[in-house]
Symmetry: C2
């Protein structure tokens, strides 16, 4: 079944199961062992947040609990389980190794940290359907909350990852910042530059997540390479979809208002594909940036409607699907079993992504 | 010579040599080998910043170059050199080992990162005699610049420190955030709580700096313990002095306006010593927080003048000196040579600290 057929078949399904761990009938519930690992991961996250004083802890707990997909920690655990399978160790019925759980928690905390800081940067009003943390606690506390989560991540990595993986993590975070700083300086005006930035912003952490658990649990180099390629395609597709959802998404599902990217000065793939070239993109970007605050939302709506009419969203959607197909094409030879099935389900699920 | 005599003798010296590396006739110039190590550290910092795009790089370079004391990296190098001396290796004429230089750069970058984020938190207007980075580039870029420097620190540690030291670093940073978050929640109303917070905020990084290079270069446990105690006294004294300078300092020398701490809601040792008890402290704190913005500076001036009149500054100054004396008392048995002399000079120099 190619991805087009898949989409058309599944579009008829009325309810897409949410990816959130905590939601009843969650996506991960199909894989009870994995669901249990993710529950352990949540417990590990809570344990780490516990040392904060009450008010801050509650804010962070609410934020971390509130509707995260647990996609990145699931990838860590899937990787660790695949490594075990590749060594012929049947751990499918048991919980994942403790260090994999700890690193999964670390990756989720890192993700939460970047979201908190990103929302300050973008002056976002909402996240995960709630008021953004910096609006609730002030930018002051939100900067520190993010810093605190960053440092927890590095603690977990220092304790449970090899120096090599700690290095990969540190590089990943500095590249993430570089990407964001480039965005703050000037918008991406070419597809090539866009791909470079989303690599730093999102893709690198997907690759890290999928290879981290695997590498720590003795996966052979060939498997690591395979997971790296799958992580690349998965992460790239995920971020393109994110950027599409910013234009077409239902705020009730995404938890974020429409058009937030362009409003914050970020130019994404649908715009790049729809524009006649860098000059028109720069004009769009400038027209938003230079408009008085009250007129901005209207200008963004007009540009985005143009982008949709010119097919920018459709082509971007096809490109996101194509990356998922490329990921599926990399499956040949993966150790058979629940981890591979779960990973394939993730890819299929993203085809239908609405949040 | 006890510290009181020292102060009275040296107060007559008209010019206190600045601790800044780059200043002509700098303090470190007394120790040419150490000065050279610090120049190498600066070069390593520049190399790390180089990968950023132009505008951001310039901002960070200006900030990192601009008047930092290089105290923490000097401690790293002093520690590494002492470890060599304790092993009977005479490296006094040679540059410090490359890994010590790299870690010294990491510690300085971490320090810069915390300053940048602190200034956002405190809404500080100036730092090191210049407009604070977040005022120049916007909170947006400043959050990211800090994050970027944090991640560079973790990269340098992942590459050049043992996993143990990377762990100490990560714990140190998370404790730093915890201290600041506690400050944001409620002021310190007792000396005990004040000491706990400055430990997380400042002292821990001094201890880390002084033991880091030593531990990485094979110092025996007894020497490490000794350096830990010296680092504790040095860091504690340094932060108490910092808090005194916030009240009595010459803005031309400190590079910061007077009364910034209380203005930002932070209660420091001179206030704690001068107040009749927690109730009065809480009243002071509330009177500043609840005042309309335009009246705040005047209220702060009135409180601080009261604090001075009641001897809060004098007693705090004696306590800061006493910590330096305790540090000096720990010197017996340190490997003789330039590193120990430089460390003693740092203590003596801090006795006269004006910035």
């Amino acid at each position: 079944m190619d991805s087009q057929t898949y989409v058309s078949v599944h579009r008829r399904t009325p309810l897409v199961k949410p990816l959130h761990t905590t939601a009843p009938g969650s996506f991960w519930g199909q894989f009870p062992v994995l669901q249990h690992d993710l529950d352990l991961t949540d417990a590990e996250i809570e344990r780490n947040l516990d040392r904060q004083s009450l008010r801050i802890r509650e804010g962070l707990q609410d934020f971390v609990r509130g509707g995260g997909k647990r996609l990145r920690p699931a990838l860590v655990i899937i990787g660790a389980r695949m490594a075990a399978a590749s060594r012929g160790e049947g751990i499918d019925g048991q919980p994942a190794p403790e260090s994999a759980i700890r690193l999964a928690a670390g990756v989720e905390l890192l993700h939460a940290a970047t979201l908190i800081h990103d929302d300050i940067l973008d002056q976002a009003s909402h996240r995960r359907g709630r008021i953004a943390l910096h609006r609730q606690y002030g930018a002051h506390d939100a900067v520190l909350m993010g810093d605190f989560l960053f440092s927890l991540t590095f603690e977990l990595f220092a304790d449970h990852a090899s120096p090599d993986q700690a290095r990969v993590l540190a590089r990943g975070v500095s590249r993430m910042c570089e990407s964001e700083l480039r965005n703050a300086e000037a918008p991406a005006l070419t597809r090539r530059e866009y791909m470079r930035r989303i690599f730093g912003k999102t893709t690198a952490l997907f690759i890290l997540s999928l290879t981290l658990g695997a590498s720590e649990h003795g996966a052979p180099e060939a498997l690591l390479q395979q997971l790296r390629r799958i992580g690349y395609c998965l992460g790239t597709s995920f971020q393109i979809q994110d950027d599409i959802l910013d234009i077409t998404g239902d705020p009730k599902k995404t938890g974020k208002p429409v058009g937030g990217d362009l409003l914050a000065g970020t130019v994404t793939l649908p715009l790049i594909l729809a524009a006649e070239g860098p000059t028109e993109l720069a004009t769009w970007h400038r027209s938003v940036e230079s408009a008085p605050a009250r007129a901005r939302r209207q200008i963004v709506q007009t540009i985005l409607s143009d982008v949709r009419d010119r097919g920018g969203v459709d082509v971007a959607t096809r490109q996101a699907s194509a990356y998922l197909d490329r990921a599926r094409a990399e499956f040949a030879g993966l150790p058979a079993g629940m981890p591979a099935e779960a990973l394939r389900s993730v890819l299929d699920h993203l085809e239908l992504r609405q949040s």
